[in-house]
Amino acid sequence: MAQIVLNEIDKTYPGGMKAVNGLSLEIEDGEFVVLVGPSGCGKTTVLRMIAGLEEITGGTIRIGDRVMNRVAPKDRDIAMVFQNYALYPSMTVRENLAFGLRMRKTPKQEINRRVVDAANILGLAQYLERKPAALSGGQRQRVAMGRAIVREPEVFLMDEPLSNLDAKLRVSMRASLAELHERLNVTTVYVTHDQVEAMTLGDRVCVLRGGVLQQVDTPQNLFDYPVNLFVGGFIGSPSMNIVAAKLVRDDVGTAVMFAEYRLPISEHVVHARPEIEPYFGRDVILGLRPSDFEEASLVDESWARMPVTTHVTEALGGEIHVIFVVDAPPVEHKDVVDLAPEAEEGGAAVPLYEGKSVWTARVDAHSQVRAGDRIELGVDTRNLYFFDPDSGLAIGKKQAAEPRRSRRGTRSADSPGPA
């Protein structure tokens, strides 16, 4: 087991494309760290640099107490799981598992013991003599895991290992991965673009954008205290609703105003977050989590009210997502633009909603709300997020004092935030 220290690492591809820019990160021994971000953010490049498959342009990578910059992948004592599994098609499962050990001249008996152990852990015992082509996707994924396990390396590197599985299998494999890490407690770096995977698996999650590290923290802290609009928008599902708003303090009290709405803010909240003070009378970007909404009749008077007309409702059984339109132009901050991979595929801008923002609210499953209804939503204004409209940085939601590791506390919930 080993600590991994990335110190100011850079990756510039021939032709000048800078994939990773001055990234520093300390990964503790036995920690499960997830690198997450939209596609093209450099997360896989970072992983491949740790593996030694990609040369490092600048900075140093240390695993354990050795600087690894110029050490060959095989001498780094790492094992990697690839998105497409990269099983050797011409070998049986047993040979696949044993290959790395045989290359290292491990004694035959030892190889056999480890292969059988790993096969038992992963439920592959009856498939040992099969070729990968004769396995299902989930089984291949487990063989790929097994190939890493038998090596008993200092570090596991995983590059989107679950993204080729169907949704149901992905959830169960996610649970097995968490359990496996619990059991083996090997330092793990895990790359994914799926923020639910990131939140559920990681002791800590690193959010990357354009090769630059945005924030590293526990999943709950990322959710509660995003450093900027990008992280706020990326973490959480459904994602945060954002709008250009104005903070006001007048005869009626303190409030945040956008479109036709005025949400009062309790002085307690302002008091707890003195950084907000300078922004009164100025523009801010307001963020509201879908989970901070509820149908007005179900909550007490302290929640602000927002009358809306529902456009679509999505009943998920345990909860209902209410989608409605707010008559304010969508925020065009660069942080938000980077967040919308759908925009490239032409799915983002529905002309129907042009010039307006589409919001999601999560309400109780017992709500009677239907599409087209005019309803009143309650908003928990204690949990508003404010961002500076220029820099996109969070205002007055203090970072957790220290980016601490919480070992398992946040792992039980499948999705972040209150249900």
Partner: protein
């Protein structure tokens, strides 16, 4: 199948049925005729070679096309064997072809793998100059090669001298490079992390995946050295070293007047030369269709 219970789809896949759909049928008749004529044109010389090799007396008239029972004999084969020592020349052809094949595959695989998978300075330049070399016709190189191999290396009348100029085949290098480029990159990454060196990766992982393609390349390469005439002819003075193609050509120029049916004897030699190639083709027919190197990677 009756006329009534037939659907449009079934008709479409049964174009040889004359009664059902007139336009389609006539169209396919045309196609069949044209293809048939084409096949005949290609098969005829081959057929005539076999017929000719069996004639007791040469019959160049049109009636010679049809085998005549009275005019059939195997004597031509005996005569060509007596004149050339077919066994020895076939062995020479075999050694020459086998050597070229072996060298082509070994060097082609090694160089192709390096060009596809290894990162080294000058790789692009090397690849481009290799492609450039492909453009130089062999005829241009013959004289310098002859001087080099016979005068300097003293390899005249030796198998090595015959094989050497063909040992590295840049077409094969190119083809093998393409094969290796098609394999998923992660396989190589995984093997490198697993601790395999490049030679192990090549032999244990890459080669098993391109094996069908490899066989195709070998079969296609086979015919070249097997039929090669000019180079072995230049480099062999002793008849005992000559491959069959060369010996046969020499025979045509010199000794043919001594046998009863020289024409038939030459054709008998040609049949012997053609049989291994045809046999290989028949045995490995399916490999001449481009193989699918399906990668058992993801689901």
């Amino acid at each position: 199948m009756t006329q009534t219970g037939r659907t449009v789809d079934e008709v479409a896949v049964a174009p040889d049925d004359v009664t059902s759909v007139e336009p389609r049928t006539s169209h396919s008749w045309w196609r069949l005729t044209v293809l048939g004529i084409g096949a005949l044109v290609f098969v005829f010389p081959f057929y005539y070679m076999i017929i000719g090799s069996l004639q007791k007396n040469q019959n160049t008239s049109l009636s010679g096309v049809v085998p005549q029972p009275g005019n059939i004999t195997l004597r031509n084969y005996g005569e060509i064997n007596a004149a050339l020592n077919l066994g020895k020349t076939l062995i020479n052809s075999g050694v020459f072809t086998g050597g070229v094949l072996l060298a082509t595959v070994v060097f082609g695989v090694l160089a192709g793998y390096a060009l596809a998978q290894l990162r080294f300075r000058g790789r692009g330049l090397l690849f481009v100059s290799m492609l450039l070399l492909l453009m130089v016709p062999f005829q241009l190189l013959i004289i310098p090669l002859y001087v080099l191999i016979v005068r300097y290396y003293g390899l005249g009348d030796s198998y090595l001298g015959m094989i050497a100029p063909f040992a590295i085949n840049s077409t094969a290098v190119f083809i093998f490079r393409q094969y290796f480029l098609q394999l998923p990159k992660e396989l190589f990454d995984a093997a490198r992390i697993d601790g395999a060196n490049e030679f192990r990766i090549l032999t244990r992982i890459a080669l098993p995946l391109v094996r069908p393609a490899l066989l195709t390349a070998m079969l296609l390469t086979f015919i070249g050295p097997w039929n090669e005439y000019l180079w072995p002819f230049l480099i062999t003075k002793q008849q005992s070293m000559q491959p069959l193609a060369v010996a046969l050509a020499n025979y045509m120029n010199t000794v043919q007047s001594t046998v009863s049916n020289p024409f038939g004897t030459i054709l008998a030699g040609a049949v012997v030369l053609a049989v291994p190639a045809v046999a290989l083709f028949l045995a490995f027919q399916r490999y001449f269709v481009a193989p699918n190197i399906g990668s058992a990677v993801k689901g």
